[in-house]
Symmetry: C3
Subunit: 469 residues, 3 copies
C-alpha cells in the first residue's frame, strides 16, 4: 500500500479522456450494430395502430420513467452532496457514471432480455430505459460506499463491470428462476450494497484522513434535496415495471405507506440514540428511505397496507440503529469504510425486502389474488405454469442468495482491479476533497480581507474565477 501511495498520480488529463472516448466510441459501434427501436417507437407503428395510439406503452410508463430518472440523477446525486467539500464530485461523478452506465445497460440488458432472435437486434422502448436506470442505480449505491476515496476512472471501471454483473444476475434471478422483484430489493439493493461494500473492504485505507468526512450546514440542506426526491418518487420506482393496471397501482400504494412509516421511526430512534435527544441529519437523510428499499420485492404483491406499514416501521428502526452502532463496528472490526452508510440504507433493508417478498409470495393464495391475478402477477405461464406459491417463495429466497453472492464476489474482484496503482485515486490526506479532480473556486485571502473591511456582504466566498476560461 505504501508502495502504491508513492506511485499515485491524480492527474486525470490523459486517463479520463482516454477512458471516456474509448468507451463512448465502443457504445456508438455497438449501438449501430445492435440497437433498434421497438415496434412501439418505430414509425411503422401507425400502420396498425392509427386508432389506438393511446395504448402505446409510452403513456403507461413514461411518467414513472421520469420519476425514476430524477431519482437516479438528482436523488442519488444530491443525497451524496452532504460532505463539506465533495459536492462537485458527488453530483458530477454521479452524473458521469450514470450517463455512461445507462448506455452500457441498454446493451447488456438488451442482449439478455430484448433480443429479437430473428434479426439479432435489440429492440428498445421506454421499459428498457427504466431498466437501464435501475441497473445504474445499483452502481450508484456502490459509489456511495466508496464516496470520497476513488478517482473518476475507477468509478468508470466499477460501473462497466457492475452493469455487466447486474445484467447477468438479473437474467438468472428474474428470467431463469422467474423470481419477482419489481422494485429490486434483491437485484438492485442487495447486489449494489454488497458490491460496494466488498470494493470498499478491498480498498481499505487504515490511515484515512477523516477530517473532511463530515457535513457543513448547507451541504446537509443540499443532501435533503436528494433525500426528498428519492423518498417522493420511490413509489414510482417500485411500480415502474409492474404489471399495468392494479399492479402498478398497488405497488405505488404499498411503497408510499411503507415510506411514511419509516420516517416516523427513523426520527424516533435518531432522537433516542443521541445525547440530549437531538436529531441527526444523517439518519433523516438516509433511514427515512429504508421503507422504500424494503418494499422493492413485495410492493406489487397483496402485502396489505398494514403489512407495508410494519415493514417501514421495522426498517426505519434497523437502518437508524445501523448508522449509530453498526457502521463504526464495520470500520473497526471488518475494515469496511462505508462513507454513505449503504449497508444501513440498501444492504439490510434490501435483505429484509427479499425476505418479506419470499414470505409474501409463499403465502399467496387464489382467495386473495384470484386465479388470474396469481398467474398474471407471478407469471405462472409456460414453463412455470405448474409452480405453486410456496415453491415460488423458495425461489424468491434463492434470489436473495444469488444477488448477495454476485455482489460480494464481484465486488471483491473489482476491488483488486481498482487497487492497481495507476487509476489516480487520491492519497489518504486528500480524500473527501473536490479540488483534486475539480477546478474549485478559490478564496483569495488578501482580497477577502480587503472586501471585509469595505463592508462586503459575502467576504469568505469571494473569488475572481471567470465563468469561462
Amino acid at each position: 500500500m505504501s508502495l502504491f501511495d508513492g506511485l499515485k498520480n491524480t492527474d486525470m488529463r490523459v486517463k479520463l479522456p482516454v477512458v471516456c472516448f474509448i468507451w463512448e466510441l465502443a457504445m456508438i459501434i455497438l449501438f449501430g450494430v445492435f440497437i433498434r427501436y421497438n415496434p412501439q417507437a418505430d414509425a411503422h407503428y401507425i400502420v396498425n395502430n392509427s386508432n389506438t395510439t393511446y395504448l402505446n406503452e409510452f403513456y403507461f410508463r413514461y411518467p414513472s420513467f421520469q420519476d425514476v430518472h430524477v431519482m437516479i440523477f438528482v436523488g442519488f446525486g444530491f443525497l451524496m452532496t452532504f460532505l463539506q467539500r465533495y459536492s462537485f464530485s458527488a453530483v458530477g461523478f454521479n452524473f458521469l457514471v450514470a450517463a455512461f452506465g445507462i448506455q452500457w445497460a441498454l446493451l447488456m440488458q438488451g442482449w439478455f432480455g430484448s433480443l429479437d432472435y430473428s434479426t439479432g437486434k435489440i429492440l428498445i422502448g421506454v421499459e428498457n430505459l427504466i431498466n437501464a436506470d435501475f441497473c445504474v442505480a445499483s452502481c450508484l449505491i456502490a459509489y456511495g460506499g466508496v464516496l470520497g476515496k476513488t478517482s473518476p476512472v475507477q468509478l468508470m471501471i466499477m460501473t462497466l463491470i457492475g452493469v455487466t454483473l447486474y445484467a447477468v444476475e438479473e437474467y438468472i434471478i428474474l428470467t431463469l428462476l422467474n423470481v419477482r422483484d419489481a422494485g429490486g430489493s434483491m437485484v438492485i439493493h442487495i447486489f449494489g450494497a454488497y458490491y460496494g461494500l466488498a470494493i470498499s473492504r478491498v480498498l481499505y485505507r487504515p490511515k484515512l484522513n477523516q477530517e473532511k468526512n463530515g457535513s457543513v450546514y448547507h451541504s446537509d440542506v443540499f443532501a435533503m434535496i436528494g433525500t426528498l426526491f428519492l423518498w417522493l418518487f420511490w413509489p414510482s420506482f417500485n411500480s415502474a415495471i409492474s404489471n399495468t393496471g392494479d399492479g402498478q397501482h398497488r405497488a405505488m400504494i404499498n411503497t408510499y405507506v411503507s415510506l411514511s412509516s419509516s420516517v416516523v421511526t427513523a426520527v424516533a430512534i435518531s432522537s433516542l440514540t443521541q445525547k440530549k435527544g437531538k436529531l441527526d441529519m444523517v439518519h433523516i437523510q438516509n433511514a427515512t428511505l429504508a421503507g422504500g428499499v424494503a418494499m422493492g420485492t413485495a410492493s406489487e404483491m397483496m402485502v396489505s397496507c398494514y403489512g407495508a406499514l410494519i415493514v417501514g416501521f421495522c426498517c426505519g428502526i434497523i437502518s437508524t440503529l445501523g448508522f449509530v452502532y453498526l457502521t463504526p463496528l464495520l470500520e473497526s472490526k471488518l475494515h469496511i469504510q462505508d462513507t454513505c452508510g449503504i449497508h444501513n440504507l440498501h444492504g439490510m433493508p434490501g435483505l429484509i425486502g427479499g425476505i418479506v417478498g419470499a414470505i409474501t409470495a409463499a403465502a399467496a393464495s387464489e382467495a386473495v389474488y384470484s386465479r388470474e391475478g396469481l398467474v398474471s402477477l407471478f407469471n405462472f405461464n409456460g414453463a412455470f405454469a405448474n409452480r405453486s406459491a410456496s415453491t415460488q417463495g423458495g425461489y424468491q429466497a434463492a434470489g436473495i442468495c444469488i444477488a448477495l453472492a454476485f455482489g460480494l464476489v464481484g465486488g471483491t474482484v473489482v476491488g483488486f482491479i481498482l487497487k492497481l496503482p495507476f487509476w489516480g485515486d487520491a492519497p489518504n490526506e486528500n480524500c473527501f476533497e473536490d479540488n483534486i479532480y475539480w477546478e474549485v473556486p478559490e478564496e483569495e485571502e488578501e482580497e477577502d480581507k480587503k472586501s471585509s473591511l469595505a463592508g462586503s456582504t459575502y467576504v469568505n466566498h469571494g473569488n475572481n474565477k471567470p465563468a469561462e476560461p
Copy 2:
C-alpha cells in the same frame, strides 16, 4: 408564562420517541383493522378488466398525485428554509409531520368518505393518497405560522388534531353541503391559515428574540426551490381530483394563468413599496403563489382565462401588501406572530378564492356549461338534483364560514393544549435556531483559524463531525 418558561426542557430524548412510537403503532393497528385496497388496486381487478387496464384510475391521477406529493414535501419544506439557521427544522419537521399526517389522514378521510359499509373497511386508491396530501397541506400551512417557535412534539399534536378537524370540516363542506372546492381554497387554505394563526395567537411570545428571524443569502435561494416547485405544480394541485377530461384540463389552465399573473403584480408591488425600488425576496417567494391559492375553488369552473388572470392580478397585489403592511400590524395589534406570513399567502387569498368560487358558481348557466356539464361539475345528482346555481353559490359562501370557524376555534383550543409547559418548545432566546433539536455541524474556532492561515478554501465551515457517529 414566566412560570412555564422555567419548566421548559427542550430535551426530546423521551418525549419525541414515545409520541412517534405510540402513534405509529396505533396506525399499524388501525390500518390492519380498517384499510384495504380499493378494486382498482386489488389483484382481482384483472378478472373483469383484463382488456381495459388502461382505464385504471392510476393513469388519470398518478402524474397529478406525484406533482402534489412534490409540493407537500419539497415545496412546503424548502419554502420554509428561508430562515438563516432553521433549515434543518423547516425541511426535517415538515417531513416528519407530513409523513405521519398522511397516514392519519388516510384513516380519518377514509371513515368519512371511503368506507365500504358492507364490510366496514376503508378502500383506498390513488385518489385517497391525493386527498391525504391535501389534508396534510393544511397542517403544513399552520406550521408556517408557528415556524421557529414550536417543538416537534407540539407539531405532532398540531397535526394529529389538525388532520382530525380537517376531515370533519371537509366532510361537512364537500359531502353534506355539496360544496365544490377541488383545489381547497376553503377546506385547505382558509382552514389551515386560520388554524395556524389562532395557534400562533395563543402561543404569543412578547419577548421573542427576532435576531435569527431573517434570511441569509443562500437560505433565500434554497427557499426559491420550494417556491418554484409549488408554483409549477399548483396547476396539478387544483386539478388533481377534478372530474376527468375537461374538468382536469380546465382546472389546470385556469391555475396556470392565474399564477402567471400574480408573479407580475407581486414583483410590481414589491418594487413599489421598498425604498429605492429594490425587490424583497420574501414577496417573490410567497406572493407569487397567491394566484394558485385563490383559484382553488373556481379552477374547475368556467371562470374564463381572463377571469383567472384578474384573480391572480389582485391576489399578487393584496398578498404583497399584506407582507408589507399587515403582518407588522398583526403582531403589534393582535399579537399574532406569523413567521412565514401565512395570512398573506393562504389566509387572504383563500378567502378571495372562496368568494370567487361562490360568485362563479352562482353565475353558472346551462348556456355556458351545457346541462350535462352543469350536473357533472356541480354534482347536481341525487339529493342535490334540484339545486339551482344560485343556491349552490349560497352554499359555497357557507363553506367559507365553516372553514374559517373550524380554523379559528380549533386553533384556539389546540393553542391552549400546546401552551402546556411540558412539550419542550424553545425558550424565547433560542427560537429560530436548529441546534436545540438537531445535531448541527459545529465550527471549531481554533481549527478554523489554523486552516485560514494555511490558505484553506472554506475556512468558516470546517468541522470534524464524522458522517456517521
Copy 3:
C-alpha cells in the same frame, strides 16, 4: 456610452411597477377579448365524450408539459444561479420574465396558430401551454447571454419583443414552410441564442468589471440543480408536441440517448483542456446538455439510436471546446460578452441540430417510415401532399437561415432599444451584483465579531433582517 453611464439610475421604483402594471392590464384585456377554452377543456366536452374522457388531450400531454414547465422555471432559473452574488436575479428575473412571457406567447402564438376564424377567438388547451413555454425558452436563452448586465425593465422589453419575433418566425418556419422542428433546435435554440448574442454585442461594455463574474462553491452546486432538471426532462421537451404514439416515444428515446453521450464527451474534453486534468464545473453544467439541443429537430425522426449517440458525442465535444476557446475569442474579437456561454450551449448545437434534421429528413424513405408514417410525421397532407423527402430537407435547411436571421436582426434592433439610457441597467462596476435590484440580507460586522467570540456557529452569515418588514 460615458454619457449614458452618467444618466444611469438603477432605481426601479417607478419604472418596473409601471411596466408590470401596464403590460399585465393589457394581458387581461386581450385575454378577455380573445382567449377561450378549446373544446377539450370546455364544459361542453362531456356532451359528446362522456364515455371517452380518457382520450382527452390532457392525458397525452400534461406529464410532458409539467416536465417542460420545470425546465423553464427551475432548469433555466437555477442554471443561471452559478454567479457568486447574482442568484436572486438569476432565479427571480427568470421567474418574472417567464411568467409574463407565457401570457404574451399564448396570445401571439394563438393569433398565428389557434385562431377560430368563425368567432375570432383563440382556443387554448394544454398544447398551447407547452408552446408558450417553448416560446419563453428562447427569451430565457437570450437572457443567459446578457446575464448580470441588464435591468428587469430591459428584460421585460427583451421578452415582449422576443416573444413577438418568435411567434412570427415560428409561423413562417413551421406553418408556411411545413418544416419539422418538434424540439426547436431552430425556432427555439438558434433564434434564442443569436437574439441574445446580438443584444449582447450592441450592449458591449468595454470596461465591464469581471470581478464578480464567477462562481463560488455553493452557487455551483445550485446551478447543478438547474442542469440536472434540464438534462432529465429534455426528452420530454423534445417529445412534448410530437405526434402521439410512436412519435413521442421515439423522440424521447433519441433525446435520452444523445444526452447520455454528450455527458461523457463533455467530461473528457473538460479534463483534456484544463491544466492537471481537472474538470471545470462550467462545462459540466452546460456542455452536457448540448446533446439535447442538437436533437431538437431530428428527435421525432427515424434518426436511429446510434445516430443520436453520434450527435451527442460531437456536441459534447464542440460545446466544451467552445467554452474553452471560442467564448474568450468572441469577447476579445467580436466584443460579444456571453455570460452563460449560450453560443456554446444553444447556438452551435442548435445549428448542428438543424443540419442533422435537414439531412435526416432528406434521407427519409418509405422503407424506413412506411408510407403512412412518412405522411404522418412530415405532414405531407393538403398543400404539401406532393412534397418529397429531399425537398423537405431543403425546406428544413431554409428554416435554419430564417431562425438565424430573425435572431440576429431582431437582436440588433432590440439591442439598440435597450441601449437607451433610461432603462436602469447597472453601471459597469455593479454588474453581476444582486444588491442593485434586490434587498440582500446584510452582514453586520460588529455583530458578527461579537457572535464569533460567543461561539456562534455561523458567524459570517448573521443578519437581523426580519422576514417581513
